[in-house]
């Protein structure tokens, strides 16, 4: 390790400014419904193509770190996750804001994100080669099982029943499969429409189901004065921090491992950490789903830890850990680099520069996150009659901005209005969106698994039974189903 490379972005004013500004921009962009961190990185990457390499990497690391954290702001204040990684945060963050504790929720998420981010960076620095070796052991069936696990978690966590959660997940998977089959180029669920060949944009669906449907659902509630937010204390008391520290550490560990798996990212990490928190927390002050502090700490620690984790396969194997690192890999190629094992051997200074850079981005996250918390918390005090129309306009313009497409806006409105109806009957949007995102991965993993077993499902199952990783995942899935079934039968 060369300290001068780790400290490069700390000592160079341009690199320092690029990291800090990137983090600040990431927080604000992530907090605006419709502007996802993937979109922010994609747009900013195009600005940096003419830049020298180091400032470009510094800016992108800042935007990534800040953006993942920023998604929690709109999840807490508006019940609209800034991105899929903040879906779990909304489950308890929003009830906290409705209780007048938006400031406390933001303070907790900031500290959890900071801690998770630090652990992610430490894992990247100390364990990149080892983590990459574990990640490469995952077979296609393990990705399939991991995706099933993610859907089951979100399906069992949200909505009135597991059956409704599973139906929503199945619907989401189906929506994710619309378009040309990537293996055979056969159109699926397109019914002759050319528009549908490219698939349904999941960000438009996410904005519709979460943004429009939630905003319209707010209008079902009777008029009431907005909840006054108690924002006197943003930084939680030391005793609270110490009480939640073990959970934050465990959730960060989950985030690092899930983030390091190619193709999975902060979204699944956050859901798994949330489920872990729900299973391991004895007697929370507020129940999960009704504003439990543990329910915001666990996903936020995990999704920011997943940032460091996602850099592991990107830098060591040249495989994207999630959508953002896929964009970053493209940017590295534009800058003449080839991510993969040779990057670590030929340009080790860039690896250590990235480590130092991510560390700085996390410190910037802490500073900007806490400094802006009071102003952000006031958003929850805006009267519903003003906030709802503003959210609806943001949803329209945010959707349009993805591809400058009015068709996407109509998709978003369709999902929003149908999402309003689905909510009335106890279906939640989380499983639908996650199903849309994971559907193509599940389809590809399923087919690779059975093809590898000679098109024989039984042979594939026997192979799975012989793999420790697969067995652990299968056992976890069975446990979740059993627990969900037993839990529903117990009287409340």
């Amino acid at each position: 390790m060369t300290p001068e490379h780790v400290l490069m972005s700390w000592l160079d004013p341009v690199l320092f400014a690029a990291t800090a500004l990137g983090t600040l921009a990431g927080i604000w962009i992530g907090a605006i419904p419709g502007l996802s961190v993937t979109m922010a990185v994609s747009i900013l990457v195009s600005f940096t193509f003419a830049w020298p390499l180091e400032p470009a990497l510094a800016l992108m690391a800042g935007v990534f770190t800040g953006g993942v954290y920023g998604g929690s702001r709109s999840a807490i204040l508006l019940n609209i996750p800034g991105g899929p990684a903040a879906i779990a945060t909304a489950l308890d963050g929003y009830p906290m804001a409705q209780r007048g504790e938006a400031g406390a929720a933001i303070g907790l998420t900031t500290l959890a994100s900071f801690l998770g981010g630090l652990i992610g960076v430490a894992a990247l620095a100390l364990g990149a080669p080892a983590i990459a070796e574990v990640a490469i052991l995952f077979a296609p069936r393990d990705y399939l099982l991991l995706a099933v696990l993610g859907l089951l978690l979100v399906g069992s966590l949200s909505g009135e029943s597991l059956a409704k959660g599973l139906f929503a997940a199945g619907l989401g998977v189906t929506l994710g499969l619309v378009g040309l089959d990537p293996m055979t180029a056969e159109p699926r669920f397109t019914y002759g429409s050319v528009e549908l060949l490219g698939g349904i944009p999941y960000i438009a669906a996410m904005i519709g189901f979460f943004g429009v449907a939630e905003a319209l659902s707010q209008l079902r509630l009777p008029d009431a004065e907005p909840v006054r937010q108690r924002i006197g204390r943003i930084v939680p008391p030391l005793a609270t921090l110490l009480r939640h520290l073990p959970l934050a550490l465990r959730s960060s560990g989950i985030g690092v491992v899930i983030g390091a798996l190619p193709g999975t990212g902060g979204d699944i990490a956050a859901l798994m950490a949330y489920d872990h928190a729900r299973r391991t927390t004895r007697a929370p002050a507020h129940p999960f789903g009704a504003g439990a502090e543990e329910g915001v700490i666990a996903p936020e620690a995990a999704n920011n830890a997943a940032v460091g984790g996602a850099y592991v396969p990107m830098l060591t194997l040249g495989i994207p850990g999630d959508a953002v690192t896929a964009v970053l890999i493209g940017a590295l190629f534009v800058h003449g680099l080839k991510p993969g094992p040779m990057l670590m051997i030929e340009t080790p200074h860039l690896f250590w520069f990235t480590v130092g850079n991510l560390l700085l981005a996390n410190l910037a996250l802490l500073a900007f996150g806490l400094a802006g918390a009071r102003a952000f918390a006031r958003i929850a005090e805006v009267p519903r009659a003003v906030l709802v129309p503003l959210i609806l306009v943001l949803c329209v313009v945010g959707t349009f901005a993805i591809r400058n497409s009015l068709t996407d806006v109509w998709w978003m409105l369709g999902f929003g209005i149908s999402g309003y109806g689905l909510r009335l009957y106890g279906f939640q949007p989380g499983p639908i969106i996650l199903g849309m995102i994971l559907g193509p991965l599940m389809d590809a993993s399923w087919r690779r698994t059975v093809i590898a077993a000679g098109d024989d499902v039984l042979a594939a199952a026997i192979e799975a039974a012989g793999s420790t990783i697969s067995l652990i995942l299968i056992a976890t899935i069975v446990l979740i189903v059993l627990r969900s079934l037993v839990g529903r039968k117990r009287p409340a």
Binding site: G170, L219, L394, L406, R447
Partner: protein
């Protein structure tokens, strides 16, 4: 029980049947790695879940109205906003939508509603048009 609760499982089963039909069309039963195999699995999960929903005891509805007039009005205005955007441009359509909807929901103070709408459209212009260089619709009528 919510209105339409009895009809819901029928609609869900119909949706599952559409997915299963597409899976069968794509030879989902012929081979487990066929294009239609995974849609068939997804349709099966949907059908199973719909059956479980049909058999589960009905939950009592909440006391809130299913579709209050102001939610219906906001939906209608939103659709009009999206339809008007390519004609009159984003800025004018968004301003009109915000001013009318805030006025409608707030019940008073037209001037204040217009002021909030103008400020919001200005902020959106700065963030999306100037900072992110998103080409917001300008309106076919003004070309």
């Amino acid at each position: 029980v919510r209105p339409g609760e009895r009809l819901l499982p029928v609609l869900l089963l119909a949706a599952a049947a559409v997915v299963v039909a597409e899976g069968l069309r794509l030879d989902g039963l012929a081979s487990p790695s066929a294009s239609g195999a995974f849609p068939l699995l997804a349709g099966g999960v949907m059908a199973g879940s719909a059956a479980a929903i049909a058999l589960a005891p009905r939950r009592p509805a909440d006391a809130l109205p299913m579709l209050p007039a102001r939610a219906a009005a906001a939906m209608a205005l939103l659709v009009v906003f999206a339809a008007a955007m390519p004609l009159v441009g984003f800025h004018l359509a968004a301003f009109a939508f915000l001013a009318i909807t805030i006025r409608l929901l707030r019940g008073h103070d037209t001037l204040r509603a217009a002021l909030i709408a103008a400020l919001a459209v200005g902020a959106v212009h700065v963030v999306f048009r100037l900072a992110f260089t998103v080409l917001l619709p300008e309106g076919a009528l003004w070309r």
